[in-house]
Amino acid sequence: MSKAVIHAIFDDEEPLMASAKSLRSQGIHIKDVFTPFPVHGLDTAIGVPRTRIAITAFIYGLTGASLATLMMWYMMISDWPTDVGGKPSFAYYMNMPAFIPITFEATVLCAAHGMVITYYLRCWMLPGVKAKNPDPRTTDDKFLMVIETKEENKSNIESMLKNGGATEIHHK
């Protein structure tokens, strides 16, 4: 019951897509695909779950808005009430319009930076980290599909890949 890793190389995105779809319909799990350019619809075809970056963005934005509100409330209302342009400074809501732009900017700042940093951490794309690419030709003109499976299913999957238009098959 040892595990087998198959690397299948395709020359074009159409056979890649078709193979991905037929493999998935057989219930075979595709671990990853490396392509020289973004292929539309490939993520759903290989069964990548939907990104949750939007949810993190919402949380970061909410954090930014709360921090900005807290900061302004402390500085302008609580710690040292400041009279700017004769505006009442007894309560936060009285000066609300003046605080909106900063709240907005802090929301955008935290959401944008939070998303970028989360993305880099999640993909482990950090300075000095070695690129994980099974075959450098995928940065040029080849498409590579990685399949992890059990030893006994290997030959079956291989023949499916060959019929699907894979030009090379390697074992790792």
Binding site: H40, G41, A54, F58, G85, G86, K87, P97, A98, I100
Partner: protein, 413 residues
């Protein structure tokens, strides 16, 4: 009934009757309103000139003309930015823009009636206000009299309306020719014309809103006003387009318009409603912050003096808070129910926004949101829908020969 690729829209007699019904409601309320609009208590009869009736006509002319105008702008924007995805819904925004000539005539009638002293929405149209001998003399209006001299005002008004309509007719004409002719020659011509329209529109969208809307409060001015009214018209146009696309999809047309097109249109609605909110709030905030009496009067009247505070908040919630919360997620921008729901809220919300531009300056505290207002709005809606549906039925719902057609059909995000 429309299971196959049906690209020919039929304007059914049922739909036609609905638009006629709306128009009939509008016509009846207009006549009844004209006959029954008498000066409210405390306003002299000589000064009144059926202000409520004319102010309503202005609200509806400006709002519905703006939808068609910004659909024309959107059309030009797609050419200039070489947008491919929107080609599948091109005929829909072309149809929305086809209301522009009718809207322009409506706008012209309202302004002409003012010039002929049938109404007094625009105080500066009264020549007595710039006559130093007259008791009505108004120093501020006199100071602006060079800009609002009748010949100059009418030169601008006619220039805007005629040039906009000419551009709009030209875009539609060449788009239909393209269907027969194919190739890229006409497409590049459209791009050139669209770029010219953009430049013209950049100036005139602002200056027309100063001339027709900001001048209602002739003593007041705001540098944000042009963009504020522009963004309001734009979001109204975007919701009209998306509602029409969803309606046609539901009827079985536009089969090649997929989820991605709907999602992109939903993003436009979300983005432009933010643009409007931004400009609406910035105009308020700058005036609130600076606190100069000649500027704050606009919001003093709207929030405190004439009892529009509730409406002010309604406009804010309908046009900013609801669209923001309801359209934020990806799923809701692909959900027909959400899009229709939010689209209707925004449509009504922006009609109310134009109402808020006009009414506090004209009928002041004697404002109503009654049968006359609603009836006339419905009448104009019927007229616009009639023109749009007739335009939709005139040509194939999907463009036939467009350089980006194939790309648009395969649009996927």
């Amino acid at each position: 009934m429309n299971t196959d690729m049906n690209n020919n829209y039929t304007f059914t007699s049922k739909t036609r009757n609905i638009t006629f019904g709306l128009m009939a409601i509008g016509l009846i309320t207009m006549i009844a309103g004209f006959l029954t609009d008498h000066a409210p208590e405390g306003v002299s009869h000589e000064e009144y000139h059926r202000t409520r009736f004319w102010a309503n006509l202005l609200v509806n002319s400006y709002f519905y003309m703006g939808i068609a105008l910004l659909a024309t702008f959107f059309m030009a924007l797609q050419y200039v930015a070489e947008v491919a995805w929107s080609v599948a819904v091109k005929r829909v925004y072309e149809a929305v823009s086809s209301f522009l000539p009718v809207g322009a005539i409506m706008m012209f009638i309202v302004l002409l009636a003012g010039q002929l002293h049938q109404h007094h929405l625009y105080h500066w149209m009264d020549p007595e206000t710039i006559n130093p001998e007259s008791p009505k003399y108004d120093e501020i209006i006199a100071g602006k009299s060079a800009y609002f001299a009748p010949w100059f005002f009418w030169l601008r008004t006619i220039l805007y309306l005629v040039v906009w309509v000419l551009f709009q007719r030209g875009f539609i004409k060449r788009s239909l020719e393209q269907d027969l002719q194919g190739g890229t020659k006409l497409h590049f011509k459209q791009m050139g014309k669209a770029a010219a329209f953009m430049v013209f529109f950049a100036y005139t969208s602002s200056s027309s809103s100063w001339d027709w809307m900001m001048s209602l409060d002739i003593h007041w001015f705001s540098t944000m006003y042009g963009w504020y009214s522009f963004s309001g018209m734009w979001i109204s146009a975007m919701v009209t387009i998306i509602l029409l696309v969803l309606y046609l999809k539901r009827k079985g047309y536009l089969q090649q318009v997929n989820e991605s097109h709907i999602h992109d249109l939903g993003k436009w609605v979300f983005a432009v409603s933010f643009l409007w909110s931004y400009l609406w709030f910035m105009q308020f905030m700058l005036i609130w912050y600076t606190n100069i009496p000649e500027e704050t009067i606009y919001f003093q009247e709207r929030m405190h003096d004439f009892g529009y505070m509730g409406l002010m908040w309604t406009v804010f919630f309908m046009n900013f808070v609801f669209p923001m919360i309801l359209l934020m997620s990806r799923d809701s921008k692909r959900n027909y129910f959400f899009l229709v729901f939010v689209g209707c809220i925004i449509f009504v919300g922006h009609w109310l926004d134009v109402f808020m531009m006009v009414m506090p300056a004209t009928v002041k505290s004697h404002w109503h949101l009654g049968w006359l207002e609603i009836g006339m709005a419905l009448g104009f809606l019927g007229l616009m829908l009639f023109v749009i549906h007739r335009a939709l039925a005139k040509s194939s719902l999907m463009v036939k020969q467009h350089p980006y057609l194939d790309e648009s059909i395969h649009h996927h995000i």
